[in-house]
């Protein structure tokens, strides 16, 4: 028991500290890296709470996918930190005041008085063969099947919305259509080399040349 408690405090401290670092670092890359650390620490906290599946998913999805994407965006874009922080000092006192008031109020409520062991006694530890994944899966596909379906629709909407907002058809875009390339048959479609007798330097009519090109493409 003692070791678990020790681990809990260490991990909590890491989480809080790295969260503070996320918003105070000047370099956004550092911020993102600290965020990764915060996620890893909280994942560890979940594992301590016997929520192994969620802990692993947190690392897989957030650290492995989302954060990498973040990092990618932050490194690709040239974010001008100076303009972002222009009004920071001016608003700092107000921000701090509000944050302090909120912190006090939240602490008053979400403190040991309401959420202590008296109100929520710690549950019995799960057995050795308890499977997090199996339990979650059972719940998701029976009791919560309706919400899961809704979540699926939300994902669909996210795809549609993202494509609608970003995809543009550019007229100057040059691309090849492999399907058409493959469909080319021998004979009329291909380029032919024609041997011709040399002629005089009389210029051919302009239209004819273009039409030829169009056909041979």
């Amino acid at each position: 028991m003692g070791f678990e408690k020790f681990l809990f405090y260490v991990l909590s401290l890491i989480t809080v500290w790295s969260s503070v670092m996320v918003i105070t670092r000047k370099n956004p890359v550092h911020s993102v890296l600290f965020l990764v650390l915060a996620f890893v620490a909280s994942a560890a906290l979940w594992v301590l709470l016997e929520a192994e599946f969620l802990g692993i998913v947190l690392i897989l999805v957030y650290v492995g996918a989302v954060m990498v994407l973040f990092l990618f965006v932050v490194m690709m874009l040239d974010v001008d930190i100076a303009t972002l922080r222009a009004g920071f000092i001016g608003y700092l006192p107000l921000g701090l005041l509000i944050a302090a008031v909120m912190a006090v109020e939240i602490f008053l409520i979400v403190g040991p008085a309401n959420f202590g062991l008296a109100a929520f006694p710690s549950p019995e530890p799960a057995g050795v063969d308890a499977s997090n994944t199996r339990d979650l899966g059972l719940l998701l596909y029976t009791v919560y099947v309706y919400p899961v379906e809704i979540a699926a629709v939300i994902l669909l909407v996210a795809i549609v919305a993202a494509i609608r907002l970003t995809l543009r058809r550019r007229p100057d875009n040059k691309y090849v259509d492999p399907a058409r390339q493959v469909r080319v048959r021998k004979g009329p479609d291909r380029v032919r080399l024609v041997s011709m007798a040399t002629e005089d330097l009389a210029p051919a009519p302009a239209g004819a040349t273009i039409a030829d090109k169009g056909e041979s493409q």
């Binding site: 409520i109 979400v110 959420f115 919560y144 309706y146 809704i150 629709v153 939300i154 669909l156 909407v157």
Partner: protein, 479 residues
């Protein structure tokens, strides 16, 4: 646990909308630019089927499905029907505008239908989880619709603002829900209500959670001081998006409030009543005052929305069945009025020109006297002039606060609605007493739009004269 297919019956309207949306999404791929009207037709047919199904599966005793995640009761029947009807009007109004600007694409209908789906899910939610998911589904589609016009900088800015503030609002709501879950140990409304009833009245954790819930509700409705997004989004977004955003989602927001506060937390009525009083007074006051100073009609309607939200809250906060019914009546009526008002703005627009200034309504009577009459009806109804239904709606919510001996609140409401009458009547003045601008373009309308607008405008009059039918439906939802 075997799955009972009968569970699917009550969500047949939802399934219909989902199938329609998916169908439009697929069919759109194979359509030429000239054939895009098929999207429109498919959408309308889908909604009509959904309305019919709502009627078919509705009625009877309230029943819970999907292990407590879904409920079908009189409230969900009526609200679903209203949402579908109002959305139907919105899609009809939007079509000429979209076609004129070459935006008659499948995505608009897909997103619009998904928004409707989200609202339908919200009104029949029986747990915080379903409610929240429906809300997110609806919100996500609305963000996209606001930024739908990719070439409009204003639209993109509005979409961005809406997204960030919406995320903040949802976050607060979710935090509130987690508090309620923490205090009661359930996310289903029934058990939550039972747990709350057992506990001491002043459970600080519950009140703490309720504050966040009320903020979530206030944000969705656009109540002061969580209203900041409303004017900017109404102004920046393309008008068809505002039409969809400003009408039916208010009904869904009403469901959000009723499901959480009444179904889940009615025993804590005294706690949330005070919060709603503050929001109501601020909304009515600020909404009506600032609307006067607007020269942009979309902004004016945005502030008018805010003031109407104050009135809806009056009914909600009274905590009586009559009060809830009157708020419901008000909400549905408001959605219809709002759809009509934005519909008229769509008619007035042209490619490269949107009717945004109040002056653009000048001399509408000379340009088309029938639409002028409909707009005048809508404005009178919004101002609460008898015999339009707006008057009945205001009367009913005022009655509900008077019944709980909050006469001062009723007086405040009347005072601000008198101030509000000014800017509605100013619109009527522009319509009838001013000459149209020389270069006013022809109206953008079709037979379908004219028919829908006539139904819309006359409904306000007929409902005002014969409110009993709708009112008794509203009362039955809370009986």
């Amino acid at each position: 646990m075997p799955f009972d297919a009968a569970q699917l019956l009550p969500i047949l309207p939802e399934i219909t909308i989902l199938v329609t949306a998916s169908l439009v999404l697929l069919v759109d791929l194979y359509l030429d630019d000239q054939q895009k009207d098929l999207n429109h037709s498919l959408t309308l047919v889908g909604i009509l089927i959904a309305i019919a199904l709502t009627g078919a599966v509705g009625g009877g005793e309230a029943r819970v499905f999907f292990d407590g995640n879904l409920v079908r009761d009189a409230l969900s029947d009526l609200l679903k029907g209203s949402i579908l009807v109002v959305s139907l009007l919105a899609f009809v109004y939007a079509r000429p505008w979209l076609r004129d600007r070459g935006m008659l694409v499948g995505e608009f209908y897909v997103l619009g239908l998904f928004a409707v789906l989200g609202m339908l899910i919200m009104v029949s939610a029986n747990s915080f989880l379903t409610l929240y998911l429906g809300l997110e589904l609806q919100a996500l589609t609305l963000y996209a619709l606001v930024a739908f016009d990719r070439d409009s900088r204003k639209g993109a800015e509005a979409g961005m603002k809406y997204f960030v503030l919406g995320a903040l609002g949802s976050g607060m709501l979710l935090y509130g829900i987690s508090m309620i879950y923490g205090a009661t140990g359930s996310i289903e409304f029934g058990p939550v209500a039972a747990a709350v009833a057992e506990q001491e009245i002043s459970n600080k954790v519950l009140v703490f959670g309720i504050v966040f819930l009320v903020i979530g509700i206030g944000f969705k409705f656009g109540a002061v001081p969580f209203h900041m997004w409303v004017p900017d989004i109404y102004e920046g977004a393309p008008t068809p998006a505002v039409l969809i955003l400003g009408s039916a989602p208010k009904i869904a927001a009403f469901a959000l409030a009723i499901r959480m506060l009444v179904d889940g937390l009615e025993s804590l009525h005294t706690d949330w009543q005070g919060m709603l009083v503050i929001l109501a007074v601020l909304s009515m006051g600020l909404g009506n005052l600032v609307a006067i100073a607007q020269s942009n009609i979309k902004r004016m309607l945005a502030y008018s929305t805010i003031s109407h939200v104050g009135f809806i809250f009056l009914g909600l906060l009274s905590g009586s069945q009559q009060g809830y019914a009157s708020a419901m009546f008000y909400t549905i009526v408001y959605a219809v009025m709002s759809a009509g008002a934005f519909g008229i703005l769509l008619i007035l627009g042209r490619k490269g020109f949107d009717a945004e200034r109040l002056e653009d309504l000048k001399g509408l009577n000379d340009r088309d006297s029938w639409y002028a009459a409909m707009m005048a009806l809508i404005m009178f109804s919004m101002a609460g002039v008898p015999p339009t239904v707006g008057f009945m709606a205001k009367l009913l919510v005022l009655e509900s606060v008077i019944r709980i001996d909050m006469v001062w609140l009723a007086l405040v409401a009347v005072f601000f609605s008198i101030i509000g009458a000014f800017y509605y009547l100013r619109v009527v003045k522009f319509i009838y007493f001013d000459k149209p601008a020389e270069d006013a373009p022809a109206l953008l309308t079709t037979g379908g739009v004219r028919f829908a607008m006539s139904v819309n405008g006359l409904a306000l009059l007929v409902l005002g004269l014969f409110p009993a039918a709708l009112l008794s439906l509203c009362q039955a939802a809370f009986a």
